[in-house]
Symmetry: C2
Subunit: 112 residues, 2 copies
C-alpha cells in the first residue's frame, strides 16, 4: 500500500458546487475509484491565510500498477464526465509537476 | 473511527529540523500516539503559491473519548518535550478555532 497526499486550489465561486458534488458522488464514480485500487480516499477543504481556498486529498493505493490504474481511470467515460464538472472548480498549483493536476505533497511523517 | 485533517504553517528556516525530527521520531512519542488511539497518522509538506510552506496532517482516531485522550497525551512528559521542539517550527493559522494549534479542515469527500 502506498499513501498519496496532494493539494489544489478551489475557485471561491465553485466551492458550494464542489461540496454538493462530493457530498453525493455518483455511484459509478465511487465504483471506479475502488476498481482502480484507490482506498480510504478523503478530501478536505480549508481557507488559508493567503485568502484562497485549498483542497487536500489523502488516499491509499492498494494495487500494483499505479500509472496503469490511473490511465485506466482517466479513460472511463463516467470519470471524464465527472472530471468535466470537477476540473472547472479547480485552480491547480502553478508549480505542480509535469503531468500533475493535483500537486503531490511530500510525506514527512507516518505512524501506523 | 473518525478521520481528522488539519493544517499549519512551518517556518522556512525550521523545515529541515522538522523533517529530521519526524523522519526518526522518538519511540516513546510513537508509543504515546498509539496509546491515545491515533492511528494511520501522516504529515505532508508543500510550498503553496503564497510562498509559505504548509504541513497537512491526516489521522484516524480509533478510541471513544477524543478530548480525554488528547488531554492525556498533552499531559505526558515525553510529549511535552517533543512539542517543545516541534512547536517553534510551526506558525499556526491566525483564524484557527479556540483551543486549536493545528487548524481543523472540513472533510468534503470520503470513500472507503
Amino acid at each position: 500500500m502506498k499513501r498519496y497526499g496532494s493539494v489544489i486550489q478551489v475557485h471561491p465561486h465553485k466551492i458550494e458546487e464542489y461540496k454538493r458534488l462530493h457530498a453525493n458522488p455518483w455511484p459509478e464514480v465511487v465504483d471506479a475509484i475502488r476498481e482502480v485500487n484507490i482506498a480510504n480516499y478523503s478530501i478536505y477543504l480549508r481557507k488559508l491565510p493567503d485568502g484562497n481556498h485549498y483542497l487536500f486529498s489523502y488516499f491509499e493505493y492498494v494495487g500494483s500498477d499505479f500509472a496503469g490504474d490511473m490511465a485506466r481511470m482517466a479513460s472511463l467515460e463516467v470519470i471524464q464526465k465527472w472530471w468535466g464538472l470537477c476540473k472547472p472548480c479547480h485552480a491547480p498549483l502553478p508549480d505542480r509537476a509535469e503531468g500533475e493536476w493535483w500537486a503531490c505533497m511530500e510525506e514527512v511523517f507516518h505512524t501506523a
